[in-house]
Symmetry: C2
Subunit: 217 residues, 2 copies
């Protein structure tokens, strides 16, 4: 039924229903789709790009202070390698390689789905830069999907740091509900849900789309 | 709580709860993960592999009569090409190329998410075989996720041909609920849900896993 052929009453009913749905689902959250990338620590930066070298700023990311660097590396596993893997800045306390499940097949490693920074019992890969290479014992993960938000946003959504929520994503044929989405709250964060390319393709979603929390676990 | 430390009453309650959950969700459905592949018609088979050529049986697929052939082709778009794309048999009435969203980026085409056989307004690619090449005007799709089932299965699940259902997939960290899953009923079908590699990776699921219908639209 088109809105033009509706009676006033039907129209009010429809609008009310849509508003209630929107309130129930919470405000929209911008989607950030992460392609494969790497975070380097000081020591690996030295080995790959030269002692004392610094990352070159290329493009700001949505999270304050985070940026894509001009630098890229090659990552290599027992089965193959992937070229032009983007380095994200600033440097971190531990090198971390974030790839997709599909990338894992190419490299011949099987990284677990992990929260950023939780690198125990993860596979290592070889990282090759213009000035040298390093062979890591660990550090390759498939990123656990998560939502960054400020404490103010957390109040608004009625959630806390480390909560697990369900999120509706995709507004086309492939729309789906991600279960098990980690909420991360910090005054350093800006509201954004992070998923990887596999997840975006499966949901028919893209960078900048809006998603909604549908349920708290 | 371990089942050993439970009282008899608690154990009965837990078992009952699990049985009710399982009944509500319906019987498990085997998952089939489709990698990129191509179906050829007689005329393209002639052009690519030689006049009157036949496909060579390699491996049976779950759907009766369907098989992977020994033959592969190269598919090429405006931006790039993908080698060793598996031909599935038997021949069909129209050539159809089924690729992932990620493959679309490699080729430089943007195929829509479509049900098998619905090829109007889809992009074409060039197909290259050992005996020649064909340039298609249409035929490239991203397969719409769907469940094949027999009429007996349809009765069991309480669904009909062309119904849309929601499906819970993945039993790990990445589990999710696919909305908009098409049910296809025929006495030629065997019970199986088909998703592509992107969807499998996003759900942390693999070939042969079991999924469940959670809701009818």
């Amino acid at each position: 039924m088109s809105t033009q052929s509706m009676t006033r009453e039907e129209l009010v009913k429809l609008v009310t229903q849509r508003v209630v749905e929107a309130l129930k689902a919470g405000p929209p959250i911008p989607l950030g789709v992460s392609n494969r990338h790497i975070h380097l620590d000081r020591s690996d930066m030295d080995a790959l790009f030269g002692p004392g070298s610094e990352l070159t700023f290329k493009k700001e990311l949505a999270q304050p202070g985070q940026y894509a660097a001009e630098e890229t590396v090659i990552i290599r596993g027992p089965k193959g390698e992937i070229k032009r893997v983007r380095v994200l800045g600033p440097l971190r306390s531990a090198t971390q390689v974030e790839i997709s499940v599909a990338d894992g097949y190419v490299l011949g490693v099987k990284p677990p789905v992990r929260e950023s920074g939780k690198l125990d019992n993860t596979p290592g890969v070889e990282i090759i830069g213009p000035c040298g290479a390093v062979k890591k014992d660990a550090g390759a993960i498939v990123a656990l999907r998560h939502i960054h938000m400020s404490p103010e946003d957390a109040l608004r959504f009625g959630v806390q740091d480390k909560d697990i929520v369900h999120v509706d994503a995709g507004d086309g044929t492939r729309n789906l509900m991600f279960r098990n989405v980690l909420v991360r709250v910090s005054d350093k964060y800006r509201l954004e849900m992070h998923i990887d390319v596999d997840e975006a393709n499966a949901a028919g979603a893209k960078n900048g789309d809006r998603v909604r929390i549908t349920k708290r676990k």
